[in-house]
């Protein structure tokens, strides 16, 4: 009867595995990865995640299965303390079903030293492989030397200044962006010097497909964290420092509907829900920053083409420099 304990363990562990199996079809899984694959880290994060998932999954199932098996087979008569060696008489007696696996291993298992060595070295090798293969991905995400440089051609710069509890975003005007194309060195002071004609928005990060975006991340008060789940990007913002972050999106989610550019294929006027929630990509704060940490949310808008982005920026500029209240409101 005491063998039923192995069933408890077995059931719970099976449920655990099943949860991971059903999670994906139920939509409880990684959000869509819109980061560009080649030359960018985005997809490598997912690949590494899945590699580790399979390896740890394998060892999880192996270890728990062995444990459940042992709990079942070796469960003794409760209270009967006859030495176990008399029961087994020195011979291994696994049920014959597993005999063909276990008998070849028997020699290994009987030699305790060799066994210890085996189950130390094999995991060590696996771990070293996991460690070494990921170094370049980490470099691609965080090393400043691998990031697009501010004066680089084809780099869009944005300054994101986090504060309790919103993201204040500053974009260079189109005129300045064009200037930088001609004279890249003028691009280098963007993060330090705010210009009058910069476009300032709150909680909106705009870019376009395939464009490398360099974000200068700042904070005005406490530590926040710039987290874009769909780009697998996260970086804490430290007070007193400007930290660089970069990304590149391969899909768009924004287009002009009516007067304005919206994501999510527009929003239903009644319920306020997006018509296509798959196309809403959020920016969230991922470091406790106070009572409003949960509501420090922004959105990522990826335009389909640079032309569309420019059109949007003209529109935003118009709103920012509004002088006649009867025009837009």
């Amino acid at each position: 009867m005491h063998k039923w304990w192995s069933l408890l363990f077995g059931t719970v562990m099976t449920a655990a595995v099943l949860l991971f199996v059903v999670a994906f079809p139920l939509g409880w899984w990684l959000p869509e990865n819109i980061a560009i694959g080649t030359g960018n880290y985005g997809k490598r994060v997912d690949n590494l995640f899945y590699l580790i998932l399979w390896i740890t999954g394998f060892f999880f199932i192996l270890t728990e299965a062995i444990m459940v098996y042992f709990l079942f087979v070796y469960a003794g008569d409760q209270g009967n303390l006859t030495p176990a060696n008399r029961k087994y008489g020195g011979e291994l007696k696994p049920p014959s079903l597993f005999g063909f696996i276990i008998r070849p291993l028997a020699r290994l298992i009987h030699d305790q030293h060799r066994l210890e060595l085996a189950w130390s070295i094999v995991p060590a090798i696996i771990l070293i492989i996991i460690a070494v293969t990921q170094i370049s991905a980490w470099e691609a995400i965080k090393y400043q030397s691998k990031m697009p440089s501010p004066g680089g051609v084809g780099v869009q710069q944005i300054e994101v200044s986090a504060r309790q509890f919103e993201w204040r975003v500053r974009y260079p005007s189109l005129a300045r962006m064009d200037d930088w194309q001609k004279e890249p060195k003028y691009a280098e002071d963007f993060s330090e010097v705010a210009h009058l004609d910069d476009i300032r928005l709150v909680n909106e990060v705009h870019t376009w497909v395939g464009q490398k975006v360099l974000v200068h991340l700042k904070t005005r008060d406490v530590i926040h964290s710039f987290y874009l789940p769909n780009l697998r990007l996260k970086q804490d913002a430290l007070p007193g420092k400007t930290i660089r972050v970069w990304f590149q999106a391969e899909k768009a989610n924004t287009r002009k509907i009516g007067d304005d550019w919206v994501d999510g294929d527009g929003y239903d006027p009644q319920s306020g829900k997006p018509n296509n929630p798959e196309k809403v990509w959020e920016l969230a704060c991922a470091e406790l920053c106070g009572w409003g940490h949960y509501k420090m949310i922004g959105k990522l808008y990826v335009h389909e083409t640079e032309a569309d982005f420019r059109a949007w920026m003209e529109h935003a500029r118009g709103k920012q420099y509004l002088t006649d209240p009867r025009k837009t409101e």
């Binding site: 363990f9 060892f59 005005r220 007193g240």
Partner: protein
């Protein structure tokens, strides 16, 4: 190792002590251990209730909490939990559980109670220091409980207390309130002070344990004949001795920042909080993180190694088999502890620390998985060919093993820095934390309590209730914490007052409700354990010396052991895991049992 001398510190008969000296200000390690146990169990209730508040808010973020809503948040608050309160709830939950439950129980309660008994000593090397180490916890208890009533609430910047959220204060002369968060005022100051006392208490304890273990072992008790519990506590004490000073320094620096306007963690440039502004300083918020994690990473090993040691002993005893790979187990614990000092940066991968440091910390962190894996395999090896006796202690120990596997494997995801970019500060981390803390440390604690209860009190806890408690706890705990892995993979962030605020997290609300319900069930089920613990104290005293037929030294002493522990000073002839030896009548052979012709030096430790 040297054969210890018995110091003639007191005459064999001395004056009977009064009630206060015997049970309150006692220098007897057993009483002190039990004192730690009782205080920690009370704080376990407090920490658990805080967790339930967190889960109730997370499960039903927009609902009014029955009874409490009207009692605590009437008036302008509209009967609704304010977000600052939620921040306080999870911060204090973690702080209480870590500093007032797990560390005091493992290092304070079990360390104190078992070490002298298991090595054959009469008491600790410094009994008065030992008593101080318990009583230094009392200022900490008072300060932390007072902090709940502080203006602005108890500390609410996470148990990690990162500046500048936690440490910002108004300008000189304007008091200690914080413009960054209400909880970072007096509540934070009390939190820092309380933890200082906890640190001092632990440091005193660790000095005691190390000295006792090195100097006061019984004749024949070489280091490699010590049970795993003692080894684990020994190495834990070393961890505490080296890591706690750094935490103490960090706490003092932050306390100075808060009280006398130093700027250790305040960066240059003004910080703006609406109309309030602070700074400029000349410091670095990242400095806190380095100092804090330099302690707190070894701290997590402090919270698991004693449990690993206890579980090794429990499993060996109830499998009726020697511990598989004793020396490998010892080396693994040492390896985990040693490596544990060079991995603290893995908590800071996304912090803005130079990413090249990140690569270094990643390599060390990945390697820590190795000794942990070795230990798991060795536990499985211990079960092999055993005669498994499913007592409450054994069940909890087995749960430790199977669930530690999950906790350890989830750690590998975080060690991989690119994956950590995604899962840092998500519920994946919360899942990992609770698998290694609740499911491992706390199940280890339960195992230890059921195992040593007869020795501590001379009575047994009720086995049936123990099994019922285990059954429901095992299921409820897994139902509560396992789905958090999925939440983390989907990107749900930690420390969020209202997860329904975003689209990418809002659709997970069903899982959140399931977890919250399981957490409530889990909380209620613990009543069984407490009831069992308390009512068994008033049961009939059985006083059996060795109910579990175990080998280690404490089972030769009376239950409970008197002052001085043993009837006669023990002499040790062998290691602690001589179970299931061929040719013997009994399936166990205690360390002190002298076989014909045996001397203390000749028998090599069974490994």
């Amino acid at each position: 190792m040297s054969v210890s001398q018995h110091p003639e510190t007191h005459a064999l008969e001395h004056a009977e002590l009064g009630f206060i000296r015997k049970y309150i200000f006692s220098t007897d390690h057993k009483i002190i251990g039990i004192q730690f146990l009782f205080s920690s169990l009370i704080f376990l209730i407090i920490g658990g209730l805080l967790a339930l508040l967190v889960r109730i808010q997370l499960g039903w973020p927009h609902s009014e909490i029955p009874i409490l809503g009207k009692a605590w948040w009437a008036g302008s608050a509209g009967n609704r939990m304010p977000p600052e309160f939620y921040n306080m709830a999870f911060s204090m939950h973690a702080s209480v559980m870590i500093f007032f439950v797990i560390i005091p129980v493992l290092a304070g309660a079990f360390g104190n109670f078992t070490i002298p008994l298991m090595i054959g000593a009469k008491d600790m090397a410094f009994p008065t220091l030992n008593m101080c180490s318990y009583w230094f916890m009392w200022p900490a208890f008072i300060l932390i409980l007072l902090s709940f009533f502080a203006d602005g609430g108890a500390a609410g910047a996470g148990w990690t207390s990162y500046p500048t959220l936690a440490s910002i204060t108004m300008a000189a002369g304007e008091g200690m309130s914080s413009p960054a968060a209400p909880n970072s005022g007096m509540g934070q100051v009390l939190w820092l002070s309380a933890l200082l006392f906890v640190g001092v208490s632990s440091m005193m304890g660790s000095v005691n344990y190390i000295t006792t273990i090195i100097n006061m072992r019984a004749p024949g008790m070489t280091l490699f004949r010590m049970p795993m519990t003692t080894w684990a506590l020994f190495i834990t004490a070393i961890l505490q001795a080296f890591a706690l000073p750094v935490l103490t320094v960090a706490l003092i620096l932050q306390l100075l920042d808060k009280t006398i306007n130093t700027s250790f963690f305040l960066p240059p440039g003004n910080l703006l909080f609406g109309n309030w502004a602070t700074g400029p300083g000349g410091g670095q918020p990242l400095l806190w993180q380095h100092l804090f994690w330099f302690y707190s990473h070894p701290a997590v090993y402090i919270m698991i190694l004693p449990a690993m040691g206890m579980v090794s002993d429990v499993i060996s005893t109830f499998a009726r088999r020697p511990l598989f790979g004793y020396r490998a187990m010892v080396y693994s614990i040492a390896g985990i502890a040693g490596l544990g000092f060079i991995v603290w940066g893995h908590h800071m991968f996304q912090s803005g620390m130079d990413p090249r440091l990140g690569t270094g910390f990643m390599l060390a962190t990945i390697m820590i998985a190795l000794p942990s894996a070795v230990k798991v395999f060795n536990w499985l090896g211990t079960l092999w060919r055993g005669n498994l006796q499913f007592t409450s202690a054994m069940l909890n120990a087995l749960a430790f093993v199977s669930l530690f596997v999950i906790g350890g494997l989830s750690g590998i995801f975080m060690a991989a820095t690119p994956v950590d970019v995604y899962i840092h500060d998500t519920y994946f981390i919360v899942a990992h934390i609770h698998y290694v803390l609740f499911m491992s440390s706390i199940f280890g604690i339960f195992a230890g309590v059921y195992y040593w209860y007869p020795k501590m009190f001379g009575k047994r806890m009720n086995e049936t209730l123990g099994k019922i408690h285990f059954f429901f706890t095992f299921i409820a705990a897994n139902c509560t914490f396992y789905p958090m892995h999925i939440l983390g993979v989907a990107g749900l962030r930690r420390r969020i007052f209202d997860p329904s605020h975003t689209l990418f997290e809002g659709h997970l609300q069903g899982l959140n409700v399931f977890i919250s319900v399981s957490a409530l069930v889990l909380g209620v089920v613990q009543v069984i354990f407490f009831a069992n613990f308390i009512f068994s104290l008033f049961g009939k005293r059985i006083g059996e010396r060795n109910p579990w037929h175990s080998n280690t030294l404490e089972w030769t002493a009376p239950s409970p052991p008197p002052h001085g522990n043993f009837d006669t000073p023990p002499v040790v002839y062998r290691g602690p895991y001589e179970y299931d030896l061929p040719g013997l009548e009994e399936d166990y052979l205690p360390q002190t049992a002298r076989m014909p012709g045996q001397t203390i030096g000749t028998v090599p430790a069974h490994h």
